[in-house]
C-alpha cells in the first residue's frame, strides 16, 4: 500500500511550520509521529497534498517542570514519557496509560501531541487530559493561545484547532500528594483501541473520597468527563452501592459507536465496569 503523492516539508521552527500550514491551506497536514496519519494515507483515507513534518523542530520535545505544572512538548514520544522520572512521580497515570497504548515500536514514534490533537475518540490520552485539567498551547498565524482540554474536543476528529494552528505543548498540574489513580482499558488485544476505558484520579481523606475526576475513552465521539459519576462518590467510602451509582451515572452519558469491538449496549456495560474498577484501584492507591 502506497500513499498518494504529496510534497514534503520539514520546517526548523514553529513559526515556519505555522507559516507553511497557513499558506498551503486545507491540503496540508502536520505530521507528528505519523502512526495515525501514515496508515490512513496508505489506505487513501487521507490524501494530503503537503505534509509538514514537525520532527525538525527541536523546541517541541521534552518534559520540564514549571512550578507546580508539568509541561510536555507536543513531539515527546510515548516512549520518552515512559522513560521520564518526572512523569512517573508527578503524573503516574500518564505512565500507566502510555504502557497501554499500541506496542513498543509505535510508542517510539507516536507522540503525546499527536495523540491528543488528532481528535480520534479511540486515543487514550485525551480522557486523561480532561481528568488532569490539562491546558494545550496552540500556535497559529494569529499568535499563541491556551485552551483547556475540556474545551478542545468537538466531535470525532473535530477539535478547536483553527486552520494553520498546531499544538506545541501540554501543561498539566502535578498530581496532588498521595493521590490515587487508575486507567482501566478493556481491549481485545495488544495494540487495539479501547472497547471501553476509564481514567480516575482521586484523593482520600479519613477513608472517604475527598476529590475525584473520572474520564471516559472511546465511549462517545469525544472523550468525556463523567461529572455526575464523580460527584456520586465524593464523601463516600466507595461502598458497593456507591460504585453502582457512579457506574450508572457514567453509563448514562456514554454513546459509543457499534463496531467490531461490540454493540452499543455491550460497550456501555463494560464501560460501567471500567469505571468501577478504576475507582476501586485508584482508591487503593491513595494515601
Amino acid at each position: 500500500m502506497i500513499p498518494g503523492p504529496f510534497s514534503y516539508h520539514r520546517p526548523a521552527s514553529v513559526a515556519d511550520a505555522v507559516k507553511l500550514l497557513s499558506t498551503l491551506g486545507d491540503e496540508a497536514r502536520p505530521l507528528a509521529g505519523g502512526h495515525s496519519l501514515v496508515p490512513m494515507m496508505k489506505l487513501r483515507l487521507a490524501t494530503p497534498e503537503h505534509l509538514v513534518d514537525l520532527h525538525g523542530i527541536a523546541g517541541l520535545k521534552g518534559i520540564r517542570r514549571d512550578g507546580h505544572k508539568i509541561v510536555i512538548g507536543a513531539m515527546t514520544t510515548q516512549h520518552e514519557l515512559l522513560a521520564s522520572d518526572e512523569i512517573r512521580q508527578s503524573l503516574p497515570i500518564l505512565h500507566e496509560t502510555a504502557l497501554l497504548i499500541a506496542d513498543p515500536q509505535v510508542r517510539y514514534r507516536g507522540t503525546i501531541g499527536g495523540n491528543v490533537a488528532n481528535g480520534d475518540p479511540g486515543n487514550d490520552m485525551p480522557a486523561l487530559m480532561l481528568v488532569l485539567g490539562a491546558f494545550y498551547r496552540l500556535e497559529g498565524p494569529g499568535g499563541g493561545r491556551d485552551i483547556a482540554a475540556s474545551d478542545f474536543y468537538q466531535g470525532a476528529y473535530f477539535t478547536a484547532l483553527e486552520p494553520g494552528e498546531i499544538l506545541t505543548s501540554i501543561s498539566i498540574p502535578a498530581g496532588a500528594a498521595g493521590h490515587g489513580y487508575a486507567y482501566e482499558k478493556l481491549k481485545r488485544k495488544v495494540g487495539d483501541y479501547a472497547t471501553a476505558a476509564a481514567a480516575v484520579v482521586l484523593t482520600m481523606a479519613g477513608g472517604k473520597v475527598a476529590t475525584c475526576a473520572i474520564g471516559l475513552t472511546n465511549l462517545h465521539e469525544t472523550p468525556l468527563l463523567a461529572t455526575d459519576a464523580a460527584k456520586a462518590v465524593i464523601g463516600t467510602s466507595l461502598d458497593d452501592a456507591t460504585l453502582g451509582k457512579a457506574a450508572a451515572a457514567a453509563v448514562a452519558i456514554m454513546a459509543p459507536a457499534a463496531d467490531a469491538r461490540g454493540p452499543v449496549e455491550y460497550r456501555k456495560h463494560v464501560g460501567g465496569i471500567m469505571v468501577t474498577r478504576a475507582l476501586t484501584r485508584a482508591a487503593a492507591r491513595a494515601s
Binding site: M1, Y8, V38, H55, P104, R109
Partner: protein, 166 residues
Amino acid sequence: MAKTHVTMKVNGAEVEGLVEPRTLLVHFIRENLLLTGTHIGCETTHCGACTVDIDGMSVKSCTMFAVQAQGSDITTIEGIANADGSLSALQEGFRMMHGLQCGFCTPGMILRAQRLLQENPSPTEAEIRMGISGNFCRCTGYQNIVKAIQYAAAKINGVQFQEAAE
C-alpha cells in the same frame, strides 16, 4: 512528483538514493538498497515484520517515509551478524531454540529483541512478551521465540541458559 535525494547510514555503510516523498522506508530498504531481509507483512503497522532499528529505536519501517530517515543510522537484519560473520547471540538463540518455523517474522523479531536486550539486558519472561508484543508470529505460538531471547540474554550476560520447565 519531484524526487528528493536522501543519505543515511545502513548497517554501517553510507547509502544514498532518490525517492519520492511518499516512498516508505521499507520500500527504500528493499527496492533501492536491495536489502530484502526486512519483510513487508501487514502494511498496516500491526505485524512488526518490517521492524528495523533507527537511531536506537525499534521502528516499523512501513510507517515512516524514507525522506524522514535522512541522516539517520539504521540497522537491518543484514547488519545483525557478528563482524566475523558468525551468528550474533540472538541469531544463535533463534537457531538453538527453534525460534522460527516459516521465518517470515524473524528479521523483525530479532531487530526488536536486540533493542529490547540493549534497554533491558536481563528481562523477565513477562517483559520479553510485552517487549515483542508489536511483532506477530503465526507459526510458533511464541514459546520458542521467548526461549530464544532468553538464550541470547544469558549468553550476552555470560551465564548458563537454563530452559524453564514446561
